[in-house]
Symmetry: C2
Subunit: 578 residues, 2 copies
Amino acid sequence: MAKKYKDFEPKWIKERAPKDSYRSIFRWGDPDFVKYPKESLYKMMKEKFDVTDEYFEKYNMSTGFDSVDLSKYPSKIDSKHLKYFISILGQDNVSTKDYDRLSVAYGQTAYDLMRIRQHKFENLPDVVLYPSTTQEVEKIVAYCVKHKIPLYVYGGGSSVTRGVECVKNGVSLDMRKNFNKVLAFNEIDQTITVQAGCSGPKLEETLNNAVNLFGAKRAYTCGHFPQSFEYSSVGGWTVTRGSGQNSTYYGCITDIVLSQKYVTPIGVIQTSHYSREATGPNLNQIMMGSEGTFGVLTEVTLKIFRYMPENRIRFSYMFKDWDSAMKAAREMMQHESGYSSVFRLSDPEETSMMLRLYNVDDTPLSPLLDKFGYKEMERCMFLGFTDGEKGYCKNVAKNIRKIAKAYGAMSMTGYVCKSWEKGRFNDPYLRDTLMDFGVVTDTLECTVNWSNMAKVHHDVREVCHALPHTIVTTHMSHCYPQGANLYFIFITPMNDAEEFKRYHTTILDAIQKSGAAISHHHGIGKMFAPWLEGYLGKKEYGTFKALKEYFDKDYLMNPGGTIGLDLPDSKKKFIKEK
Amino acid sequence: MAKKYKDFEPKWIKERAPKDSYRSIFRWGDPDFVKYPKESLYKMMKEKFDVTDEYFEKYNMSTGFDSVDLSKYPSKIDSKHLKYFISILGQDNVSTKDYDRLSVAYGQTAYDLMRIRQHKFENLPDVVLYPSTTQEVEKIVAYCVKHKIPLYVYGGGSSVTRGVECVKNGVSLDMRKNFNKVLAFNEIDQTITVQAGCSGPKLEETLNNAVNLFGAKRAYTCGHFPQSFEYSSVGGWTVTRGSGQNSTYYGCITDIVLSQKYVTPIGVIQTSHYSREATGPNLNQIMMGSEGTFGVLTEVTLKIFRYMPENRIRFSYMFKDWDSAMKAAREMMQHESGYSSVFRLSDPEETSMMLRLYNVDDTPLSPLLDKFGYKEMERCMFLGFTDGEKGYCKNVAKNIRKIAKAYGAMSMTGYVCKSWEKGRFNDPYLRDTLMDFGVVTDTLECTVNWSNMAKVHHDVREVCHALPHTIVTTHMSHCYPQGANLYFIFITPMNDAEEFKRYHTTILDAIQKSGAAISHHHGIGKMFAPWLEGYLGKKEYGTFKALKEYFDKDYLMNPGGTIGLDLPDSKKKFIKEK
C-alpha cells in the first residue's frame, strides 16, 4: 500500500475482521485487503478538517471487532413457517442465526455502516432463506403472500439507498449463496442468462473464459463495471437501474439487459427478449426500477460484448478550469465520433485530491502544472479510456485529444488513468479505515442536462460545504449528448448516524431544488423515497402505484417505503411540484 | 419517371386526384407526384402473377375520382357538444363535413385503402376538431370524459395498423392543421420541443435551418426518417414506437425522445427529461407504445444530431447467398467498429426486384454479376450509408468493406444506394398506381434475434408464398448486435379488403409462431391487437390493463380494440402462450 509516513501516522486498522464480528459485516469486501490514505492525503484531510494529529490518536467510532449478538432482537418467525421453508429448501438453506440475519439487514450507505457500529438494529429479518431456483422462489413468494409475510431480497448488498433493509421484518432471500448460476450462453445472439444473485466478478470471469467454458470463438465482457462491481449482483444492478463506470460506451444496465424473469405475487413475469419492439409500453423498462416491490427478480439475460482490452487507449488531460472542461466534455459527447468507455471529469476540489490519491503529486508532472497556468483549485482533471474495435478506439481518442486541446487542456498521458484504474474498485476500503476515526465518506449523484450543469454543480456543492471542514469533490461521469451524471463525494468528521442522515437530507433537498434528476444510477430504495413523488409529480407517480396494486396488492414485496409505495404523504417531501 | 415502354403499357393513372375526391384521401402524399413501374418491373409482375397484358387493360378497383359523399353515414354528434367545441376552438376548427371526417378515418394499410375504394365506411368520427394548444386539448379531453365521448387522434395518418380508426365514432383530433409548432430549441442540450402534429419535413427543415431560425452555431438533423417521413408526425412516431430507416445509427424514436407531455383523463402527464434516471419504472417508456389509449400526446422533446451529410459514405455489396449475407450482417453489428446509419440487406427475391426497381438492370454491373457467380434468386444486395463525424464514418465504412469481402461479397459501388435513396420516400406512390389495377402491395415486419433469423425468414415467407402468384420480398434493416428487423413486402393481384385481411392474418399468425416479435416499429393499433396478449403473456399484458384503468377507466381514449385493451378474449388469438 502507501509509503511509510515521515511524520505521525494514525493507527489505521489493518487486521482482518474476525469471522463472526460486526466488522466483517460492515467492512467492504475482501477481509484481507486494507487501504488507508497516503501521507499527503492524510495531511490534506487534517488541514481541511482543521484538526491536528491528536484527532487521529483514538478511534472515534466502534471498530466492530466484537461478535454479532442480536439477543435483544430475536427472530419472531412462527415455527410453522420455518418448517415450511425447511421443507422446500432444506435445513442448510434456512437460517435464523444472528450473524446471518444481520449480514443481510443493511446496505453500504454510511448511514448503514454507522448504525451497525452504533448497534442500532432497527430493521432485521426474522429468517434468511437461500433459494437455488426460480421454482423455489415461486413457492416462497406464494407462501409469503398466503401468510402475509413481508419479503425482502439481498443481492450483493451494496445498496446505498437502504434498498435491502427489512423494515417490516419477515423473510430475506440471500441470493449470494445458491442463486448465482449461469443458465445459458448464446454466442450467436451475444447474450448470457444468469440467476439474479450472480456477482460481477463471476459474470465477468465466465465471459472472459467463454472459449474454455462454452467452446466460444472468442472471449467476452459484460461491459458493466460499477464501483461496487466486486460485491454487487446482476439482480441488484437490474432492479435499481444501475450504471457501470464504462457506461459511456457500453450503456447503463437498462441498455444492457435484454430480458428478465420475476416471481411476483400474481405469478411469474417473463419479459420479452428483443432488441426493440413496438408492442405497447415496454415491460422491461417497467420492471427495471421496481427495486423488489413488484416481485423477486430471478433470471436476467444480458447483452454481452467482445473482450478486446488490447484496443484500449488510455488518456488524461488537465483543463484550466471547470467552465472550459465542461464545454469540452459536452463537445466530446455531441461530436458523433464515438464514445469513450470511461469518461470522467473532476472539478477543481476533486482534482486537488486526486493528484494526491493517484500519486501524481509524486511525479515530475506536478510542478509543471502550476508553471503552465493550470492552477491548484482551478484546474480540472479529465481521464478515461476507450473500448471497442481498434479503429473505433483510435478515432475516439484522436477526437478527444483534438477537442481537449481546442479547449486549452494539457495531456497528462495515460499514467493518471492507470492510477485511477488501480483504485477504481478498492476505494470503498478507504471508507472503513477512515470511519474508525470518525471520518465519514459518502456519495450522492444525479443526472443533469448540459444547460443546467454549472448551476447544479454550484448549488449542490454550496449546500455540501455548508457543513464546515468538509471535503466535497465532484466529478462528471456517465456522459451523454444531452447531459451527464454529476457525482458528489463528501468527506467530513462525523460519528453519528442521525447526524449523517440530517446532512444527507440537505444535499438531496439541494439536488431536487437544483433541477437535476434525483438519481442517475443509485436507485431510490427507502432512503431517497420521500423525494420521489415530488420529483416525478403526483399523477406521474400514480403509475407506479397502479402497477404495484396490480402485482402486489397486499404490499408484501420489499415493503416499508421502497420507492415510496407504502409511504404516507406525511413522510414525503414535495419540494418543487412540477 | 420511368422510360417509355417498348411494348404494351398499362394506362397508369397520372392525373392529379380532384380536391374533394376519395382518391385525394387514399392516395399517398403529394397530389402532383406519380410513380409507376418501369417496363422490366412490369414484365416481372406479369410473369409472377401469371397474367398477360389483358389483366392490365382495365382498372380492377374503383379509382376514386368521384367526390366524397357520406350522406349515408351522417354525423351523430349532439349539437350541444358541437356548440361547446366551437366555443373553445372557434367555428373554423370544428368540422362535421364529409370530406374532413373521411380524411381522418383511415390510415395507410392496404386494408384501409381498399375499404375506401370499396366505399366501406364502417368507422367514421362524428366531428373533427383542430386544436392549437395543449390547453385546448385539456378542455376537449375533460369534456369528452365528462360526456363519455370517444376520442381519437390523427397525426400524419400513415398508420398501417388501423391505429387512427374511429371504431366508436365520436371525436377525432386532426393535429395536422394547427398542432404542428416548434415550441423550443436548445442548442446546449441539443434538443427540440415540438407539438405532436409536427410533420417529418417540417421538423427536419427547421433543424437544417437552425442557423437562420435560431441563430444556432450549426445545422442539425432529427435522425428519424421512416419511409412515411413526409406524411407522418412526431406524435405518431412516438406513441407507436416508430423507427426511421437510419435507426441503426441514430436509434429508434424510443431512443430519440427525451420527454413527452400527454393530456389524459386524469390530467396532464409530463415525463422527465434526462438522459438516464434510476427513479423507478421509466415513465417515458410506459407512455411510448400507449398509442393514444392513455391520453393525447401533445408535446415532445427530441434529441437532435449534427447535420453532416458531407461525411456520408455510401456503399453497396452483393453477397452470393442469404446465409453468408446474414452472417456478414451479424458480424458488422457485433464488431464494435460503429454503426452504419442505413443498413439494409435484401434477400434473393427482393434483390431480384431491386435490380429492376433501382435500375441496376440497365447498368454494366448487371451482366457481371452472373459471370462472377452471383446468381439470380440466390444473390443478396446489401446497401447503406454512414452518418456521424468524418473519421467515424470512414471507420464504419472500412470495416463494413472488410467484413463484406471476408464473406464473399462484391462491391456494387455507391450507385445502388443512391438509387435507393431516390425512391426511399416515394415508393408508396407506386402502391396506388398498382392498386388501380387490383394489385395490392403491403408490408409486415418483426424483430428477430440472430439465432432465429433463418427460421423466421423461411417460415414467414412460406406462408406469404402460400398465396400463389405473389411476389414476396424480404429485407433486414434496423439492425442490432442481438438481432434485426425483418421486413416482408408482398405484391399480389387482389381487389377485396376482406380477402386482404384474411391473407394478412395468416402472415401475422406465422410471425408469432416463428418466435419473432410481432412488431418492431409499426406498432399494434387495432389490426395487430388480437395477437398482442398472446404474444406478451396474460400476466405480462395485465400491466397494460392496470395502466389503462389508471389513466382512462371509462375507456374513452382511442377505444375499440387499440392495443387490445377493450377487446374481448373471444377476439384475441393465443397462438403460442409463453
